[in-house]
């Protein structure tokens, strides 16, 4: 589609000159002599049929045509440069950049990092804790862990373990609240991080699953799941813990889940990477390692009754 472009070297010279507002500096940037740069810009102006710069005593300024061209030129070359960097990055099998939300980073990745580094000393792992959607091309991201229901178009995407929630607390606190009914008097912690999912997976839903009608609203609220868990770990109260985030603490006995009924949210964490990137050694290794780690803690679901939130909502 892009037809009739001027000579690209000349356009590049113009871009550098426009950014620096100086031919000399532009020549420097491109590692050519000022003469070459001057010539390139002259040739570009010849192509256009009009000057792009107004040559002043000791400076240059853009003409109207130059003003029209400069921002797009800069933009275009930046896009090309970042695309090229993305292509170069695919040749790098030493580093692996993973992005995940703060909660998953803190409660799943961080505690397991040491183990990954042991198994794959050749891979330099980098983290970018952020929830905003990333473009695998533009941003320097290899793998994203995202929480959601559907697979994204045009990406390699595999679901991780089912995400259920159930009440978790410190062993000490569990002693004081032996039954689901007794939890109605317990200090409840609210994790608002999953309040957006459609059939709710909140305290009211869980009590409903237990045959109880109770819609608690008072208690500390956290917008980030890891903060809610930290509060529970500190003995502040009881929280509806998300499987992926509590599995380690349950395994290590820092938290317990005394009631064997969990709400299956229907939403999962997903492993995402660019189409075709799933075979790159460090990405394949990371994926295999994640899968192994999840398998290791699969037993946590044993003896639990999972009730889909959809089913509870329908009652």
């Amino acid at each position: 589609m892009p037809d009739r472009l001027p000579p690209l070297t000349a356009l590049r010279a113009f871009d550098a000159a426009a950014r620096h507002m100086s031919f000399a500096k532009a020549a420097d940037e491109l590692h050519v002599t000022p003469a070459a740069l001057s010539f390139q810009i002259k040739s570009l102006e010849a192509h256009l049929g009009a000057p792009l710069f107004r040559r002043l005593n000791r400076a240059v300024e853009l003409t109207e045509a130059g003003h029209a061209l400069a921002p797009g030129a800069s933009d275009g070359f930046q896009t090309l440069a970042s695309a090229w960097r993305a292509a170069e990055r695919t040749q790098d099998n030493q580093t692996l950049t993973v992005t995940a939300g703060p909660a998953f980073t803190a409660k799943w990745l961080a505690p397991r990092l040491y183990e990954f580094a042991q198994t794959h000393p050749e891979i330099e792992l980098r983290f970018s804790a952020s929830l905003k959607l990333m473009d695998f091309g533009r941003d320097a991201i290899d793998v994203a862990i995202r929480f959601g229901r559907s697979a994204d178009e045009g990406l390699f995407s595999i679901p991780l373990a089912e995400e259920w929630v159930c009440p978790v607390m410190t062993p000490a606190m569990a002693a004081s609240y032996p039954t689901p009914e007794s939890l109605m008097d317990a200090p409840l912690i609210f994790d608002d991080s999953i309040s957006f999912i459609k059939p709710k997976a909140d305290w009211e839903t869980w009590f409903k699953a237990m045959g109880l009608t109770f819609a608690p609203t008072y208690g500390p609220r956290f917008s980030q799941a890891d903060h809610a868990l930290d509060a529970a770990l500190a003995g502040v109260g009881v929280v509806l813990g998300r499987r992926a985030l509590v599995v380690k603490d349950l395994d290590d006995g820092r938290l317990v889940a005394p009631f064997p009924t969990a709400i299956n949210t229907g939403v999962r964490f997903r492993f995402l990477c660019a189409q075709g990137a799933e075979d790159r050694p460090q990405i394949a290794a990371f994926r295999a390692w994640m899968m192994r780690e999840i398998d290791k803690t699969a037993h946590i679901t044993d003896g639990l009754t999972l009730i889909p939130s959809r089913e509870i909502a329908a009652r």
Copy 2:
């Protein structure tokens, strides 16, 4: 900033090949032989140190590196092409593309078009009726007429006439409603197009300016000012007409403004064009012509009392 780019000709060859998924078609697009194209891509692959295409029996497909590069490359070249077109357009003094909202287009520009064409037969005028913000670089727009209070950064911007509103109606209808008080029983039309402006300029405000307390809510509502005016012209009722949009109809006697009190909204239409473009012949001509047209109807404000909406709100 953009450092270490591969040879741009080679990158361009890659872009064409990736878009067509065929070296032959890409060679065709770039008007070179397939051999040249093959060579360019080979050189790009050498720069990267890895293949970008997998050569199959009778087709090519992108490798992972190719997948990483292709979208950005296409994007980048498209940006460059459109920037170049924008620069080319500044050399064109035959055409003039103006964008304005539907109401201004219908009620100000359209009725005066013929006259402009008479005075400037050499200029081919094009219209793009849209309210969305335009990028003078990207979109093929020379002049924008926009309604607002502040000037935009980095643009050439001059305010047009002060925009006031006052009740307008057909002469026939004016006969039945001789006083401001009587308007309280008149069929009132609501123009929601200026409902966003801060010190309101609505019916309640106008009645307040007349010392009357009346907040009408029933009556036909229009989201576009020109539709509200069309309704008034059809004799449906009385509308608070905006100066720029009613001036022609008042001048021609199709509408009358029997009450000499108008609300000064403090907001104006503005003439916008790219910085430096204000001197291009067709833009300068269009601007001068607009200013003359506004001057021609300046007398419409004679005898009117303009009360700033701010002042009415403060009462």
